[in-house]
């Protein structure tokens, strides 16, 4: 990382959360930036990626022309198999989720509150939304990691005292990566676990909508 870098880019946010993955974990990665966790080098730690459409264990996305059209992850990407991969139907796949066997689910979100609530399925004023497997995963995984930009395009904080948008689950978030650093919900706010390069505590606190502990 160069001395002029300020904050983390998308891959760096994913990398930072992926470095929390422990050997033997069963990991579910949400669509978008969370998928980039699978690019992170974990050394000799082995994790198994679970995709809610019934795929237990999968490898990298295949290059154009080499895709197997019968094989997609939850984001619809044509991934590859691993030697121990198993396919099951949707009810068996969510049995794995609901019975608490997912060690961590990593998801994007619109906002996260210090009490562990988060929102990622419905934007303001929208009729309906996009839930997919997010509510099952959020309610049932052992840990919920969230990746999101620290502030909205208009500069409003995404780490908030209370979610204004309809929540996906309550009190479940265990760790949050933003472009400004890594944060843990405390119940009433967030604690800084690590600041991204070039970010000062005061700068991050000013961009956070709820109490921030060093």
């Amino acid at each position: 990382m160069s001395g002029t870098q300020k904050g983390w880019d998308r891959q760096q946010m994913a990398d930072r959360l992926a470095r929390e993955f422990q050997d033997g974990w069963l990991v579910n990665l949400g669509v978008g930036i969370p998928t980039m966790c699978s690019n992170t080098d974990l050394g000799d730690r082995e994790v198994t990626y679970h995709s809610e459409n019934g795929l237990i264990g999968y490898g990298p996305v295949l290059p154009a022309g080499q895709e197997d059209l019968h094989l997609v992850n939850a984001g619809g990407q044509n991934v590859s198999l691993k030697p121990d991969s198993v396919t099951v139907h949707h009810a068996d796949s969510f049995a794995i989720i609901r019975s608490g066997r997912i060690d961590v689910t990593v998801m994007g979100a619109y906002e996260v509150a210090g009490n562990g609530d988060f929102a990622n399925w419905k934007v303001a004023g929208q009729k309906g939304g996009g839930i997919g497997g997010a509510m099952d995963l959020a309610a049932c995984a052992k840990r919920v990691f969230i990746i999101l930009e620290h502030v909205t395009r208009k500069g409003a904080p995404r780490l908030v005292p209370t979610c204004a948008l309809p929540v996906t689950a309550r009190g479940v978030v265990t760790l949050v990566a933003t472009n400004y650093g890594l944060f843990a919900p405390t119940g009433t706010g967030f604690r800084v676990v690590e600041l991204a390069p070039g970010m000062s505590f005061d700068e991050v606190r000013a961009a956070t909508g709820t109490p921030l502990e060093a």
């Binding site: 949707h90 609901r98 994007g108 929208q126 309550r170």
Partner: protein, 244 residues
């Protein structure tokens, strides 16, 4: 026993009446019964309730999807885990009709939908789940505490028809799916009174399958149609082939 093999898609969907509840398998492309959806568009049954993970995506070129059935005035209600994209910039075709009030929708978490379909196929009228507790979806609904945890009561979704796509079938209706093609398909088959299957490979003689490796037993399957080669049949193609 009467043969389960039908000569064509039109024939396989011909008797579907107005008002039917139809489950449509598939997650992204794998398992999606594009040929049966196209036949249903031509058949024209109305006031349908469609149960599926999504109503179809924003991508071009479009493949036959539920949103087309909506556009065609055939759908009263959709039960799905997505009625909009989570990316506000990705506006899916269904949203326009839904926001205009031309179609109803029930938004269901994906795992809850899978379990509600399985429940219908397993004779279970209702069950409790931790999913969606404390969210807008649980507002005004019945919950109950088990082992100190609040759980939401969910009901089975029985289907009149299931539309699914399988890789292999034998003439008795035993099915095998390939990789992530399985997804909701076996659950929809179980939940339905009549399960109609579009099959990728030639329909095999009875006795061709290992009894231990049948994914959906023939007793759940009523109608089989072999998908003809393109362009008569609809087959997903790779992205760069679509671009040609």
């Amino acid at each position: 026993m009467r043969s389960k093999t039908f000569g064509g898609f039109a024939e396989a969907v011909a008797d579907i009446p107005d008002g039917s509840v139809i489950g449509i398998g598939g997650f992204a492309a794998p398992g999606t019964p594009y040929n049966l959806l196209q036949a249903l568009l031509a058949q024209g049954a109305k006031n349908l309730v469609c149960v599926a993970n999504t109503t179809g995506g924003a991508h071009q070129p479009r493949m036959p999807d539920i949103a087309m059935l909506v556009e065609n005035g055939q759908v009263r209600k959709v039960i799905a885990s997505f009625t909009a994209s989570t990316r506000p910039t990705d506006v899916i075709p269904f949203t326009k009709y839904y926001e205009a009030g031309e179609v109803e929708a029930e938004l269901v978490p994906q795992g809850t939908m899978a379990e509600r379909l399985r429940a219908a196929g397993a004779g279970i009228p209702a069950f409790y789940t931790p999913t969606a507790v404390g969210t807008e979806l649980a507002e005004g609904r019945e919950t109950r505490v088990f082992n100190g945890r609040e759980m939401l009561l969910e009901y089975a979704i029985p289907l009149d028809y299931a539309f699914i796509r399988a890789h292999r079938a034998d003439a008795s209706g035993n099915l095998q799916f390939r990789l992530t093609q399985r997804n909701f398909c076996p659950l929809m088959a179980m939940a339905a009174k009549t399960c109609i299957v579009e099959v990728e490979e030639d329909i095999l003689p009875v006795g061709s399958m290992d009894p231990d490796n049948v994914h959906t037993a023939g007793i759940f399957v009523q109608r089989l149609v072999k998908i003809p080669a393109a362009p008569d049949g609809i087959w997903p193609v790779r992205r760069q082939e679509r671009a040609k």
